[in-house]
């Protein structure tokens, strides 16, 4: 019954609950802002990466390739450290922005790859048929390719969002007070002197967020599929 009383203690102690809410707020803030940044970056990088080879696009395409290679080839924690201690190592620079940029830039590379894979999964014949009718490349993309690609892209991007939210837990490594950090502090010797309960509670919070997100994605997927009964 010790466990139960500890749970009651956690939920009834204002100080602990404040910690959790504060941590939750930070986790959500970083996640949402980084997801938006990642989406925008991902779309741009995917478009540049898939643009037709031409003289003017050579450098941008190369940069996009390097970006994706570096981001996917190095650990997230290291990327976060580089942002915090090298690129934005400016006294007083808000850590939230540092973290948002670090996770957004990271997420962008994965989103770009998801979009690229989704578009490539649409048979090239669809594009050719559109172009052969005299439609422009942009119209063909918008009316034929993207509507078909989206069915593959949405679940992949959903998974990326879920990974992103969980991964934000490493911001505690640069001293930020997120949900994971809250659990650690509440469980420390000065407070509850037991980790199991705060960790379990925080785990439930993560689970709840991920569950809600999964549910939302499933809903969108269903809508998309209902759009063309196949």
């Amino acid at each position: 019954m010790d466990f139960l009383s500890k749970i009651i203690e956690l939920f009834s102690t204002e100080k602990y609950m404040d910690s959790i809410w504060e941590g939750l707020k930070l986790t959500l803030t970083i996640s949402i802002l980084a997801a938006l940044l990642g989406l925008v970056l991902g779309v741009i990088v995917a478009l540049v990466g898939m643009a037709k080879d031409s003289w003017a696009m050579k450098l941008p395409k190369l940069l996009c390739k390097i970006y994706i290679t570096i981001i996917r080839g190095t650990p997230m924690a290291l990327q976060l450290f580089i942002m915090a201690y090298v690129i934005f190592a400016i006294r007083g620079f808000p850590l939230v922005i540092t973290a948002t940029i670090a996770f957004g830039v990271n997420s962008g590379a994965y989103v770009a790859e998801n979009i690229r894979a989704g578009i490539l999964s649409v048979d090239i014949g669809q594009t050719e048929a559109g172009r052969a009718l005299g439609l422009t490349g942009a119209t063909t993309m918008a009316k034929i390719v993207i509507p078909q690609a989206i069915k593959n892209v949405i679940p992949a991007i959903g998974n990326e969002l879920i990974a992103l939210i969980k991964e934000t837990s490493i911001v505690s490594m640069i001293g930020m007070y997120d949900l994971t950090m809250a659990a650690k502090i509440i469980g420390s010797g000065n407070n509850m002197a037991s980790y199991i309960v705060p960790m379990a509670v925080v785990a439930l919070f993560y689970l709840a967020i991920v569950y809600l997100l999964t549910f939302g994605i499933k809903l969108i997927e269903k809508r998309l599929r209902a759009g063309d009964k196949r």
Binding site: D123, A129, A132, L133, G134, K143, Q148, R230
Partner: protein, 307 residues
Amino acid sequence: MISVKNIYKDFGKLRVLDGVSCDIKDGERVVIIGPSGSGKSTMLRCMNLLEEPTYGEVWIENDLLTAPDPYLHFDVIRKSKTYSSLMKSAKAAAPGKSEEELDTEIIAKIKKEDLLKRFEGGEYSKALSEINKESRIDINLARRNMGMVFQHFNLFNNMTVLQNLTLAPLELKLKTKEEAEKTAMELLARIGLEDKANEYPSRLSGGQKQRVAIVRALAMNPKVMLFDEPTSALDPEMVGEVLELMKDLANEGMTMVVVTHEMGFAREVADRVIFMCEGKIAEEGTPDEIFSNPQNPRTKQFLDSIL
């Protein structure tokens, strides 16, 4: 109608079209045959620029689809620095020869050895951009007049049959929604598939898909129809219905270029049969000439192998 002028197509190091020229006349039905990999599809796809020829030009009536190819314009070659320097040294080397003689020799040499460089000076560039300005047409405009039918149908999977037929006329603002749908329903009636108007392509049989793909192209009122092995992906019992529709089109006087292995269709419908081999037109003639009395041993060998 379509004029293909000395086109070459390289995929990396592989030369797939090796100097092909042909003229498709108004109302003509041309069937292209040849072994696998001989460049038939590539040639057809060059006609509407789904593939861009590496050299050479494609014309639709008086409109140039490709970039102008300097090697096809002697007056442009004459404006190049390469030409004038060759002319100068040739004159010095053989003072006796007439200017015309030298001109012919030098142009032949430049063409044969691919001597023109990217930057050949102001007059030369001006001449090329002059051709561009006068004759070049936006490829998307040109394609409106050229229907294409693919081996694998390529119906838009995210749209109903009706939407497949109305998408291009609507997007290109050629028709109102009512007009486009009326035309589409008439075309579907023609192939007996009005009742499938609101189905998605996945619900159609192969033969139905291909017939829808044909009328989708017709919905744009094209002047010419290009077919790339329209029956090769079909189960045998569905080949007939597609060929019937194509014969109907031919009887209505549609200009058609058809890549096919259906020799019966070629015999019955074609005004001219082109036999392609290793990226070249090895032989062409009436169906009778090609099928009954082939001159080129490669043609004979090919026909023997498939009949």
